[in-house]
Amino acid sequence: MRLLLVEDHVPLADELLAGLKAQGYAVDWLADGRDAVYQGRSEPYDLIILDLGLPGLPGLEVLSQWRAAALATPVLILTARDSWAERIEGLKAGADDYLSKPFHPEELYLRIQALLRRSHGQANQPTLQAAGLHLDEGRQCVMRDGAEVQLTAAEFRLLRYFMLHPEQILSKSHLAEHLYDGETERDSNVLEVHVNHLRRKLGRSVIETRRGQGYRFGASPT
């Protein structure tokens, strides 16, 4: 899952970056509203966390421009302005969720989780469920037939992406774009390795290889 964080307060951004990376998200960070308008539209983010008090361009204006350009990425607004009038304005500008500062980091993680599931048509349950697997995002482990399987951070990130896109053909470049932030070098061999690790832990049939097209998760179980 690749997120864009738009926040001009550097210490908070640092904290959030560290926390979100620990949650297995690839995060790009921007501090200026004008940059955000451009980058939000050009990169394939899965979710955007947007502060409203931004230099350059106000957050609500950034959001309106994204929505005007038909950008459908879910946006979570992060703001100290928490009056109901402002929340309604945020929603009208096209926000999908609203979190007011200050907040507990856990609250933010839960909101992101819920928002991602919602945007992929998944019910908001304690675990993420797909193809008979239950992924516990908090503990970063997966339950299969009642047995708990431990995952590395990279495997967790990959599996979560697969589970949010079940039965879809995902190319390697698509996966790389959504699993790594803009600064990480993308090596498709690494992806192959992680896919193999997942197959070893969860069974070969979990991820199907479509030659020349990519991978497909949760195809008809064998």
């Binding site: 307060h9 210490p11 908070l12 904290e15 959030l16 560290a18 926390g19 620990a22 008090g53 703001t79 100290a80 302005r81 928490d82 009056s83 109901w84 009038a85 402002e86 929340r87 309604i88 945020g90 929603l91 009208k92 926000a95 999908d96 969720d97 609203y98 007011s100 500062k101 200050p102 907040f103 507990h104 980091p105 856990e106 609250e107 908001n124």
Partner: protein, 439 residues
């Protein structure tokens, strides 16, 4: 303060009555004087005729009956005379058995009562010398018909005067009302202002009212502007304080403090307190309260947005609905009301299983706001504690107490009441009654 209209009417009535009475009385008096003078010349003529009728006869001085007016012969005809000589006096036949008194000196006198018929006489006494002796002739004329006609005239005058007064009062009312119409318009507009139906007074007013209207409009604009500015400043302050707080909260629950659980707990608790206090005070400071008379909350345009926002925050599984008469407008500041309803609904959504309903009803003197949910509700014994200061009951769910605190603040500022009941859905029903502002 009495109305200008009534003051003007009272002043006008008193002036009109005083002037009218003085004028009427004076003109009556002058008229009577003139009439008496006219009658006096007639009487003098009569007395001179009598003098001529005195002739020297065989038995001394005698009255030539031929020359006397027949009115002196008929009893109580209204014309009388008395002739005084030095030793005796003659009376006219018309006096019958009555005595016409002699005036102490020559001249005219009115208001003399005479006879059984109560005639009012006007008497003229003239002194002459004839045949070598002093003769005093008094001639009298019945004055009653003149008096009667005077009284009639006075009555007619009184009635006419009253009618004129009424007419003038009526005309004055109309004139004053016309003249005061701009004031009345301004008064109505201020009432509308208070009910939130307009935000400025009309500037098309007479010159006399211009400074007043301009000043009121200026104050309104100023209040609105300063409210906006202070809200903006509070927003900035909140932003400046809450972002670092968010950093601190994040640090307090980060890995770096894992080895120091007590320190982390202390930090978290203290930060929580700072946060709650900050939110509460900032929210209170944002309230417009009663300062802005032009405020208006349009239910049809605001409620759907609010409910959609709540659905977004609490999830689509909640069925949020509102029951409000179409076109209903509440005369309070939009942001304040959104804050009130937002917090109440937010709280209801936190506890509700599936359904939350808000309804607003109008009563002649108040508005009733009801927010109901189908959650577990609050046991009756604990309801009174929820809104009392310093209670912890409502702080179990995150942000819960804070929201209801601001609700209580808003209701207090507006002079309303807040009650908790059991909803027919099974959950809690918050009933708020807000008195209408007097226009």
């Amino acid at each position: 303060m009495r109305s200008i209209q009534r003051r003007l009417s009272l002043g006008l009535i008193s002036v009109m009555v005083i002037v009218g009475l003085v004028l009427a009385q004076t003109s009556l008096w002058l008229f009577e004087m003139g009439l008496q003078r006219y009658l006096e010349s007639g009487l003098r003529n009569d007395s001179e005729n009598l003098l001529v009728a005195l002739v020297r006869g065989p038995g001394g001085v005698q009255l030539d009956e031929q020359r006397l007016s027949p009115a002196y012969q008929r009893p109580f005809s209204g014309h009388y005379f008395r002739i005084d000589f030095s030793d005796n006096h003659w009376r006219s036949r018309s006096l019958w058995d009555q005595e016409l008194p002699q005036l102490p000196q020559a001249g005219l006198q009115g208001n003399l009562q005479l006879g059984p018929e109560g005639q009012q006489l006007l008497i003229l006494r003239s002194d002459y010398k004839r045949f070598g002796q002093a003769i005093s002739i008094s001639v009298a004329q019945d004055y009653t018909p003149v008096r009667e006609s005077f009284r009639l005239m006075r009555q007619v005058g009184l009635v006419l005067g009253m009618a004129a007064l009424l007419l003038i009062l009526l005309l004055q009312r109309v004139t004053v009302r016309r003249a005061l119409r701009p004031l009345e318009t301004a008064r109505e507009q201020i009432a509308q202002l208070q009910q939130g139906q307009r935000s400025q007074l009309d500037t098309q007013v007479p010159v006399e009212l211009e400074p007043l209207v301009a000043q009121i409009n200026h104050l309104l604009a100023h209040t609105e502007d300063s409210l906006k500015r202070s809200r903006n400043a509070l927003g900035n302050l909140g932003h400046a304080l809450k972002t670092p707080l968010a950093v601190l909260l994040s640090v307090a629950s980060s890995e770096q403090l894992k080895d120091q659980p007590q320190l982390a707990k202390l930090l978290r608790e203290q930060l929580q307190q700072v946060q709650q206090r900050l939110n509460r005070e900032l929210n209170r400071a944002r309230l417009a309260g009663e300062t802005l008379p032009g405020a208006l909350f349009d239910c049809d345009s605001e409620l759907p947005g609010l409910l959609a926002t709540l659905n977004m925050i609490h999830g689509e599984h909640l069925d949020l609905s509102y029951h409000v008469r179409p076109g209903l407008q509440l005369p309070w500041d939009r942001e304040d009301l959104l804050e009130l309803l937002g917090n109440l609904l937010d709280n209801a959504c936190k506890w509700a299983d599936a359904e939350v309903r808000v309804s607003i009803d109008e009563a002649p003197h108040s508005f009733q706001l009801r927010v109901e949910d189908d959650g577990p509700g609050i046991p009756e014994a604990q309801r009174s504690q929820v809104f009392s200061r310093g209670t912890r009951l409502d702080e179990q769910t995150d942000g819960h107490g804070l929201g209801l605190g601001i609700v209580r603040d808003i209701v207090e500022v507006w002079g309303g009441t807040l009650q908790l009941h059991e909803s027919e859905f099974g959950g809690l029903k918050v009933l708020i009654e807000l008195p209408r502002r007097q226009g």
